[in-house]
């Protein structure tokens, strides 16, 4: 059924090699004279670009096969095998992974190119590209892994790179703390992944622990174990894709360089959780109750993050919360068993969110690292390309027809309604309106009205072509990729859903066309209302308001970070010092303390016999000998 394609392993290997070479060069030279930036730039872009071309080859090779046979695999070697457990270091390209593969390498390459401009002149230029290449390699392993364990390699690898890149400006403690937070929170999710994977193995993995074998045996899962596996794996997804309650790391992750936020914390890594749930659709589709939990967690995350997003003043924080919110949509999608809709939203979101982040990066670059939107304004005239591209991104994010975000978001909401979750649909529409509001609040404050900081405004200028060209390409994508999955009502044929069908296990419900039209109308109305309110409030310039009441609560993110700090981190540290200050010396060591005490005490007790005079010792001797002789004579007689 599946064909072998012996170049699949090369796709992640290329960026990984790039990372190794750049990393070594940087490591060996950075304390002396740094190498020229051109060298690093060229080395860094080779790997991603080659991977992108190979991804296209994979896509076309799959396209030329019969739809139900679209599986390419490459197993270079057995990774480890113990007892029933047999794990191959294997790669699998099917419609699902090939789609991910193409857009990850495409956006990855664009962001590499953009970074050449953005990072120019920075210290540790080489290190940055080494990490970025490493990230891409890990992400490709995640996407291509043919089983949960190989997937987990990429899963943890991207977590590591995320840590390294968030704390890239290591001299500032806050950045490193943000990196630590990301890594640790991700690890909490990883615990769920590892446990879910282990349960899965003992349940159905002994005949083969790769996706295709698991898929064949998925019907053997008993309800209890299957449900537990679904939820445990979802915990992993929560960590990686920033869902309640593990979303807290993502806003802090904006401490990294902006292209990193675009690539890792918007377009690729954070969508890994959605990808994983879709990968395991053969299990999730058996347990709709677990799916419902996922959908509700997702939509509530979307709502919460949208509330936070409405009150932020840091341009990257706004985008970060919008990412969390959009990820919530994706989980709502995969939760209601609309896997292809969820994945399609991953796909479109990658374009418009990467675009928005890169646009924000251009703004930040132009304003010399100013990120507060209340210090911007009127940049439309100074940065026309950035403005135009970001406007497309904002429209796509808000879900304005005919931009890509509209089709994917609407598909999710419609599927929620069609699969019998009107509550999720309603919140989804509400969030769509809020999204439109905060996105355009940001757009108006940054680009319209009067300049609030005159000096910065005067120095602002459009960034170099190496940064604007990726923006334009992404803008074209954000505007157009929606057509790949046009639903029937717009005269399309759902090509992406059909393409993904062999990889996923999902059912398309049949619903009346009026319901569909009603749903579309509702979300368009929400978007229009959102944009209108934003225009009314911020369209003609506005002053920074003093947050009170609910707005203050929203601005401070409901004090979730503070609550986590007080409820988890501080107790954790307190237990640590309690153990090392009190338990370790006083309680755990008690048995040692007791025996030394016993020895000392009994020594003291016997001390009285040690008078120090030899003749007294002689008396003891005589007494001892007498007693001995007495007993001896007794026994002889």
């Amino acid at each position: 059924m599946e064909q072998t394609a012996n170049y699949l392993g090369l796709i992640p290997l290329l960026p990984l090699t790039g990372a190794l070479v750049i990393g070594l060069l940087h490591m060996l030279t950075c304390t002396k004279k740094p190498l020229p930036e051109k060298l690093y730039s060229v080395l860094a872009c080779i790997g991603p670009l080659l991977s992108f071309f190979m991804a296209l080859v994979v896509l076309f090779q799959l396209k030329n096969m019969a739809p139900e046979d679209r599986f390419l695999s490459h197993i270079p070697f057995t990774w480890f095998a113990v007892g029933e457990l047999h794990v191959d270091m294997g790669f699998l390209a099917d419609p699902l992974s090939s789609l991910m593969l193409v857009f990850v390498t495409f956006i990855g390459s664009l962001i590499h190119i953009y970074s050449i401009g953005y990072m120019a002149g920075e210290e540790n230029y080489g290190k940055y590209f080494a990490y970025l290449n490493l990230f891409l390699g890990a992400m490709l392993i995640l996407v291509l892994g043919n089983g949960p364990v190989v997937m987990f390699v990429g899963w943890e690898g991207v977590g590591l790179c995320s840590y390294l890149l968030i704390s890239f400006y290591t001299k500032d403690t806050d950045n490193v703390l943000a990196g630590n937070k990301a890594f640790i929170v991700n690890r909490i999710g990883d615990l769920g992944f590892v446990l879910g994977m282990s349960f899965l193995f003992w349940a159905i993995g002994s005949t083969g622990f790769d996706f295709l074998s698991l898929r064949e045996n998925a019907h053997l899962l008993t309800p209890g174990i299957g449900f537990a596996i679904c939820l445990l794996l979802f915990v992993g997804a929560c960590g990686k894709s920033a869902q309640i309650p593990l979303y807290v790391w993502l806003p802090d992750a904006m401490a990294g360089p902006t292209p990193v936020s675009a690539l890792i914390h918007a377009a690729t890594m954070v969508t890994a959780g959605v990808y994983m749930v879709a990968r395991f659709s053969f299990i999730y589709s058996h347990f709709p109750s677990a799916g419902t939990i996922i959908a509700w967690v997702g939509i509530l995350t979307a709502l919460l993050a949208a509330i936070f997003g409405m009150f932020q003043k840091d341009i990257k924080k706004i985008l970060a919360y919008s990412t969390v919110s959009q990820l919530g949509y994706m989980f709502a999608g995969v939760g209601v068993a609309a896997y292809s809709a969820g994945i399609f939203h991953v796909f479109t979101h990658a374009f418009f969110k990467a675009l928005l982040f890169l646009g924000a990066g251009s703004v930040i670059y132009a304003l010399h690292h100013q990120q507060n939107i209340w210090k911007m304004g009127g940049l439309k005239a100074k940065m026309p390309i950035t403005y135009a591209t970001m406007l497309i991104g904002a429209l796509a994010l808000s879900g304005c027809p005919p931009f890509s975000g509209f089709f994917s978001k609407d598909e999710i909401l419609f599927m929620a309604l069609a699969n019998g979750h009107p509550g999720i649909w309603f919140i989804g529409v509400l969030v769509a309106g809020m999204t439109a509001y905060y996105t355009f609040r940001m757009m108006f404050l940054v680009f319209h009205g009067e300049a609030r900081d005159k000096q910065a405004y005067d120095q602002a200028h459009e960034p170099p072509a190496v940064m604007t060209v990726p923006l334009i390409i992404l803008a074209a994508g954000a505007a157009l990729v929606g057509v790949f999955n046009l639903p029937g009502i717009f005269g399309g044929s759902m090509s992406v859903s059909n393409w993904l069908a062999p990889s996923l296990v999902e059912h398309h419900p049949h619903v009346s066309i009026w319901l569909e039209i009603m749903a579309i109308a509702a979300s368009i109305a929400a978007v229009v209302i959102g944009i209108t309110i934003a225009y009314k409030k911020f369209g003609h310039g506005a002053e920074e308001p003093e947050f009170t009441g609910f707005a203050k609560l929203g601005y401070h993110k409901f004090y979730v970070d503070e609550i986590y700090n007080a409820a988890i981190i501080q107790p954790y540290k307190a237990i640590g010092s309690l153990i090392s200050r009190f338990f370790e010396p006083n309680v755990t060591d008690l048995h040692v303390k007791f025996s030394t005490w016993l020895y000392t005490k009994s020594g003291k007790a016997f001390k009285v016999f040690q008078v120090g005079y030899v003749r007294i010792y002689a008396i003891y001797m005589v007494i001892g000998l007498s007693v001995m002789s007495f007993f001896l004579s007794q026994s002889i007689n």
Partner: protein, 507 residues
């Protein structure tokens, strides 16, 4: 050609070590001699590893009578269980000689003695011979900490030595019990582990003897709550010694349980497995939590090492092939990650004269190579996939889940706990703003890079190609587990058959 290879790797270092102690030499010469000897042993070790065919039996066996009247023999051999411990003990010593340059000849002599004794304990297949090496192993450690250690070395040495000897004496008593039981049941004396497997022990005495064995090994591992010698011992010992203690000696404790306790006390082991696995978990959590509050890097690593040993020990008690193989693999992985971290801390201390986390910072800017190597070892120690640490930890967690889902879950928390203190430490030592003291920190020099590169490659190699190692240990682990489950199952069946019989009799 390798007929006497095991004897050579045991006695070459012991004899050279004694010679170094006897003859008046300068420290530099002694170091050179030690380095050459350890490299020779390294090559023999590599040859032994490559030549090992892993068909679940003993290989490279040697057999000579020693005390025939008591059936005590000089019997050596390597199988899948001891292979990786042996590899760790042969691979890691040259590093110590190449890095620590300023010690006296006594120190290098003791190092060699320690290596010989450890290899002896690892290769013995006779209980008495094992006991002899087990005790000899302690002597050089005693001198190294007592003479060359830190400020509070005396109390640390005494605590360690008395603690360990107390355990050893319990073990000696248990060994005598096992030997006499064998004599009673088979009419001849033998302490050979292959013979002792046939022994069937039951009753209160057997449980007592089992617990005595376990206490001895638990102290060495160290298993919670017998770990209290460790923080002081590891911190006060010279770094080379800490490295040996953590990388090899602790592992011999785990190895001892697998080699000598499981085959003899199958029933008792099965009965107490859950208790001891909980102790492993408790140690992992307890030491992991304690690590976060440490101010001294070495002490932090000491707790981290104890925490990981809890997980490794857990692998033994889960009684399935995944966990056992994972445990054996992790023995080597832990030696190359946490063990090597101790060496890095030693280097740092030699350069800066401090181990206090608050005095450090910004080392990554001065010494990128050092920071990178440290980071790789650290990531292996927290079990990142692609490094050696992941395979072992994953197999152990996987096995633990089969053994008991709740214990498996608790074992999994090691993923989180380890990363918390390690990242926090890494941040404050390597990142943030540089301190005055770290301004002049010199990066690794050529010789040091040359020393560490093989280990770094090994860490990554073991993560990507673990099958090279696993395929050699898996058959033995498989056989061990099969034996354990078969015997304990039949014992349980026996008791259930016997019990109705008893009641009938009474009626």
């Amino acid at each position: 050609m390798f007929e006497y290879a095991l004897s050579v790797i045991i006695f070459l270092p012991i004899l050279t070590g004694l010679a170094l102690l006897l003859f008046p030499l300068r420290g530099g010469v002694a170091r050179a001699v030690g380095f050459i000897v350890s490299v020779i042993i390294l090559f023999i070790g590599i040859e032994l590893f490559l030549g090992f065919n892993g068909k679940s039996g003993m290989e490279y066996t040697e057999f000579h009578q020693w005390i025939p009247s008591l059936g005590v023999n000089y019997a050596l051999g390597i199988d899948g269980i001891s292979l990786l411990v042996m590899v760790a003990a042969t691979f890691l010593f040259p590093m110590v000689f190449s890095i620590f340059k300023t010690r006296t000849k006594g120190f290098y002599g003791n190092l060699l003695l320690a290596q010989g004794a450890m290899l002896g304990a690892i290769c013995s297949t006779d209980l008495i011979l094992f006991y002899v090496f087990w005790e000899i192993m302690l002597l050089p450690i005693f001198f190294m900490i007592g003479i060359y250690g830190g400020d509070k070395r005396l109390s640390a040495t005494l605590k360690l030595t008395i603690y360990t000897i107390a355990g050893s004496l319990l073990m000696l008593a248990a060994i005598i019990y096992v030997g006499t039981s064998y004599h009673e049941q088979f009419g001849k004396w033998s302490f050979n582990i292959a013979d002792l497997q046939a022994l069937s022990l039951s009753g209160g005495f057997a449980i007592t003897a089992f617990l005595m064995f376990m206490v001895a090994f638990a102290i060495k591992i160290p298993l919670f709550p017998f770990h209290t010698w460790l923080p002081d011992g590891y911190t006060e010992a010279p770094t080379a010694t800490t490295f040996i203690l953590s990388a090899i000696m602790a592992k011999i404790g785990v190895y001892g349980v697998i080699r000598f306790v499981i085959p003899v006390f199958e029933v008792e082991f099965t009965r107490f497995a859950i208790l001891f696995s909980l102790l492993g978990i408790a140690g992992m959590l307890y030491c992991g939590l304690a690590a976060i509050a440490q101010k001294d890097i070495k002490r932090l690593l000491a707790f981290s090492s104890a925490s990981h040993m809890g997980i490794i020990a857990l692998g033994v008690f889960c009684m399935n092939v995944q966990a056992l193989s994972g445990c054996l693999f992790q023995i080597m992985a832990h030696a190359t990650s946490t063990g090597v971290l101790f060496l890095f801390v030693g280097l740092m201390e030699e350069r800066l004269g401090t181990r206090n986390i608050d005095d450090l910072g910004g080392i990554a800017y001065r010494a990128p190579i050092f920071a990178t190597f440290f980071a790789i070892a650290m990531l292996a120690s927290v079990g990142l996939p692609g490094t050696s640490g992941f395979i072992g930890e994953f197999l152990i967690i996987l096995g633990a889940i089969k053994f008991n889902a709740f214990i498996g879950f608790l074992a999994g928390t090691t993923l989180i706990i380890g990363v918390c203190y390690m990242l926090w430490m890494f941040q404050r030592v390597f990142f943030e703003k540089g301190k005055e003291r770290t301004e002049s920190f010199a990066d690794l020099n050529g010789m040091e890079i040359l020393t560490f590169v093989p280990v770094i490659l090994l860490i990554i190699g073991m993560g990507i190609f673990p099958q090279t190692f696993l395929e050699k240990i898996e058959p033995t682990a498989q056989q061990h587990v099969a034996q354990l489950t078969a015997v304990s199952a039949s014992q349980i069946a026996d008791t259930t058959v016997q019990n109705p019989g008893h009641t009938n009799h009474k009626n």
